[in-house]
Amino acid sequence: MVVLIGTEKPKEEGHSPTDVRSKRLLIICALGALLVLTAFVAILVGTLGPIGPGIPEKISFSEAVNAIFTDSEYHWVFWNVRIPRVLLAGLVGAALACSGTAMQAIFRNSMADPFVIGVSSGAAVGAAIAGLLGLAAIIGVFAPPMFAFVGAVIAAFSVYMLGSVRGKIYVDSLLLSGVAVAAFLGAMVSFLIYFARQQYHQLIFWLLGSLTLASWDVVQILVFPIVAGAVVIFLYGRDLDALLLGEETAHNLGANPEFLKKLMLFVSALMAAAAVAFTGIIGFVGLIIPHISRLIVGSSHRTLVPAATLSGAIFLILADTLARTAVAPTELPVGIITALCGGPFFLYLLRRNSTGRDR
């Protein structure tokens, strides 16, 4: 065993890393506070007002506050339309960003996102089938999300089966099988769309991604899997760090690579499928947010996972706020906003990083 030579405290040289834990706590608290603030502001922004175009009429701040806390004229709108929507945006943004972080670690590739294992295309097929068969009328209003969820899970499972040999996951095969399955299912969706002209709008509406179906029911259904999933991924943060240095290194550090890959794939797929089932395919959040977070807070996952999760929630709340007010009363699919905002910001950050690296 190692014999400690001398027992002096570590010198505070300015490089001393004793503030790692406090830095982590600071980041999480700051982002948490920012999330709460963003949510409050988002609740005050909408077509009705007080911040917004004021359709059908503009209301004042006091009226809005009144509406939230008392049973006034617009109480119903705030409690049953706006607040669930902001909460849903936060949940889905958190789910996508957290899932994306885990996927990027598993695939050791910062270009991976939660949909790389076929979740989005599987959900699209499920939703398309439910829409075409008119199942909402027969089974109930949650039929399309149910089918979308099942489709997503089946697709992810197929990708997993194709990408592993005798129970051992090969990450490169997984990536390729994800591409193959997504391509195949994408063709199926196009085929279904083409032959169901009547339901064209229904399918497109779902595919472009939108939070317009937010309600307390949806929030209730999603909150447990998303929060629990995020907690699980956070708890395995150190293991993900080790996995990023290679499977042999992970093994030698005591992390169990096979179990870890399976667990992370399972949890990420579940979170992404749950989110996608209700909101359609909202892209970029799961790719950009983890990446940007990593550039800012570093790659240690015990800090990165909560940072990305909270940032994802903030980002989608902001994007959705824009989506529902920019061209009111028409709503833009939020997927367009995420792409428009995410892309250029990411390029900016990358440029700044690479010029900073020139020595």
Partner: protein, 311 residues
């Protein structure tokens, strides 16, 4: 998860459980607000066979498609309409009403109008309508495929809004005009003129669509009446082989087709319609807004197809 013996394990596990539990509880808190139950006084079955229950004559109707808007105004219920979709531009009064989006509906605007009924066509995504219903607002679907459906819808709209008398008199007048046309066009011995109708280059009205029914009533034989679906895209070879006698194209805000285009399409000049310059246009609204205006459309179409019957 790896576990460790000792007190550190306990409080951290409880902290995690507390975080998850409080999130679930917090997020569900708002659900506590329930809906208010009211008495059902009116029960109507819509075009999808759904029984819609209302609490009194609806005074705050939101129409999320242009055809239902026209129907409501036509039976005199315009004053009961408080919101319309972006495409509802007829009649003129509809344009001044608050807009609530189109296809993608703005839930917030709709709910802040405090509607007691939503009327829709069958093209609007059902998921959003279902959600409005979950919020306590029933929806009524008009699914129009034939001219008879239009008549039926006008009557339904009348019952729905308490304007049954107005609806009946409107329907009577429309039916008379329809009969005036069909008595001539559907009489024995009248030749069915082969008609190709186009709302977008190569796209036409197939079997089961409204346009198909209109052609039939106007005394035409829709060359696409045996196509694979309601709104098929045909191939040029098929159209040319069918040799339509009349070509009609609809004109809407996005249309760029002109009559001379057809002669330019390669191979089309051998068709009867092109060689004899039997190319006509019709206002798109008259064949796709399923309200009283379709009767205008029918009359125009009949004159185009059988000019000899309507001098």
């Amino acid at each position: 998860m790896a576990s460790k013996s000792g007190s550190a394990f306990d409080w951290k596990v409880w902290m995690v459980i507390a975080i998850v539990a409080s999130s679930v509880v917090g997020f569900s808190a708002g659900y506590v607000l329930g809906g208010v139950q009211k008495k059902v006084t009116l029960s109507i079955v819509d075009d999808y066979g759904r029984t819609v229950e209302l609490h009194g004559i609806p005074q705050r109707i939101v129409s999320v498609a242009p055809s239902p808007t026209e129907i409501l105004f036509a039976v005199g219920a315009g004053s009961q309409v408080v919101g319309v979709d972006n495409y509802s531009d007829y009649p003129a009064e509809a344009r001044s009403l608050p807009q609530i989006g189109s296809y993608t509906l703005n839930m917030e605007v709709i709910m802040s109008l405090k509607p007691d009924l939503i009327v829709s066509s069958d093209l609007v995504p059902r998921a959003q309508l279902d959600q409005l219903e979950a919020q306590g607002v029933p929806y009524f679907i008009f699914a129009t495929r034939t001219m008879e459906d239009v008549i039926k819808d006008l009557r339904l709209a009348g019952s729905l809004t308490g304007h049954s008398l107005e609806a009946e008199s409107l329907v009577a007048g429309l039916q008379a005009r329809i009969n005036a046309v069909t008595n001539k066009t559907l009489a024995a011995g009248v030749e069915k003129v082969r008609t190709y109708i186009e709302y977008y280059p190569l796209w036409t009205y197939g079997p089961g669509s409204f346009g198909n029914d209109m052609i039939r009533l106007a005394g035409g034989a829709n060359i696409a009446s045996n196509a694979s679906n309601e709104y098929p895209e045909l191939t040029p070879e098929f159209i040319i082989a069918q040799n339509p006698q009349i070509i009609v194209y609809t004109v809407g805000p996005m249309t760029t087709t002109t009559a001379s285009d057809f002669a330019d399409r390669s191979g089309w000049s051998i068709t009867f319609a092109v060689s004899h310059d039997k190319i006509y246009s019709i206002d798109d609204n008259l064949v796709s807004r399923y309200g009283p205006r379709v009767v205008d459309g029918l009359e125009q179409l009949a004159e185009i197809i059988h000019p000899e019957l309507f001098t």
